[in-house]
Point group: none
DNA sequence: GTGGTCTAGACCACC
DNA sequence: GTGGTCTAGACCACT
């Protein structure tokens, strides 16, 4: 759990969003996916507060309605809960994963794998493609409603 | 060229498509991405013929217009060339990549990496998330053309 | 920019389209050509907003999809940029051309040339044909993109 | 009239075709238009023989059926007449136009006009656009069936 | 048979 | 309101 204290605006958000415009993925969906990813990696835990709509808008240049919609989807899926005047809070418990240390280790292994691939002549596109081919149906491709 | 033999209708298509409905990615975009991925992995080469629109339709249950749209995007990007009455052909040369053997080796390494991750307690979602976090802006997220 | 004043809905579109049904040229292509012509004549400049799809539909009696297709081609060629909820905007800078006054002068010369041709017995068809023969490959006959 | 002699294959064709692939205009339509233009300029006259389908195919890389179709359209419009074993011959009389000398003079004037336009900074595209704007509905944009 | 264009209409995402 | 995607189906052009 990530220091779940009280007081409305007292701490900085537990997650920072980013939108990739070029991708075909709708913006609201990118936000939803990022929350879910952070959850499954333990970067976000029950009780954590999502940044307010305004904070997100200030950060990523997006329409407030779009952020709001993403939060609604997450709430409908039972992942977060909006509390009037306080903000939006994670409610679902993160599924057990590897320890943060182990995850970092795995991430390092993945990076060095990519480095090897690049040294053997593969472009960034090719490496991406190889990953896509190896894991044909990644988890982020599911529908909403868990 | 990959399969330069036989008469026009004698050889099977150089690529087979698949659509993931649940993903937020538009179907036509998935087709486009799959062609580009195949190209960057050397699975598709200049001169190869893409399956006809009708063949794709028969295979993946999608509207002909949607397939056509994907092919149009690829043509606008200079990746393929459509010739009425003949079909749609790859024109762009694949950038040099690793040898097929080396690619298979790398793919095997990637699979065993994922296996290790899973054994250390990570769910498929978590593994996907870890990959997404490690490679923030994969190549397939670019916009078309300039 | 041509008309940089006023609020969003206050100014009239920077270009008006017209479709010639009888010509063999596809409608979407006529729209594309008209935008590019206006651009090369300086009638349209970076920042200008094209009429919305619905506006065009109301003006020329054409299917929204066809207009959309034209705008898509222009976007793929980097000429315009579509922003959902806002409209479609010219992005490419017009190449330097003659001054508007000079262009009007040249146009006047061209008109009087045609008048002379007509007085010497040539029909409108013949004059058209003479122009076509004199400029065999006009710019509007190019393919899109690379 | 352009030396209308006899004997099937004895003289060279009175017109040479060219196809612009990039243009949206269908190939058959380009052939039709070229015949009509030549006619209205007096380059083709009643009795002249069009090149045979084979000759056209050898010249412009096009499917025989497409050439055939163009000739059929012209025949349906009463412009030409196919005579079995002999070829296709122009039947319609050319409308009166300017004398060849006068036409050449006018063409020269047009060329020098374009030269002036170019010297004042206009690109080839801009010149094309200016012509298109000045003559909004050129004759070649009519439907078939005179 | 191939690709290409157009219409019609529904539904989604974004501002 | 804006643009974007998809379906359905008709018709055309080309080989």
């Amino acid at each position: 759990m990530n220091t779940p204290l009280n007081g409305p605006a007292a701490r900085e958000p537990a997650i920072r969003f980013h939108i990739t415009r070029g991708s075909g993925l709708p913006a609201y969906r990118q936000l939803v996916d990022q929350v879910r990813q952070a959850l499954s990696l333990g970067l976000l835990a029950a009780g954590d507060r999502l940044p307010s709509v305004r904070e997100v808008v200030a950060e990523v240049t997006i329409n407030p309605n779009t952020v709001h919609r993403a939060y609604q989807v997450l709430e409908a899926d039972g992942v977060v809960e909006a509390r009037a005047g306080l903000g939006t809070f994670v409610t679902s418990v993160a599924p057990p994963s590897a320890t943060p240390e182990h995850q970092m280790e795995l991430q390092e292994d993945l990076r060095s794998w990519a480095e090897r691939a690049r040294r053997s002549g593969m472009s960034a596109e090719a490496i991406s493609a190889l990953i896509a081919v190896t894991f044909p149906n990644p988890a982020h491709q599911r529908q909403s409603s868990e």
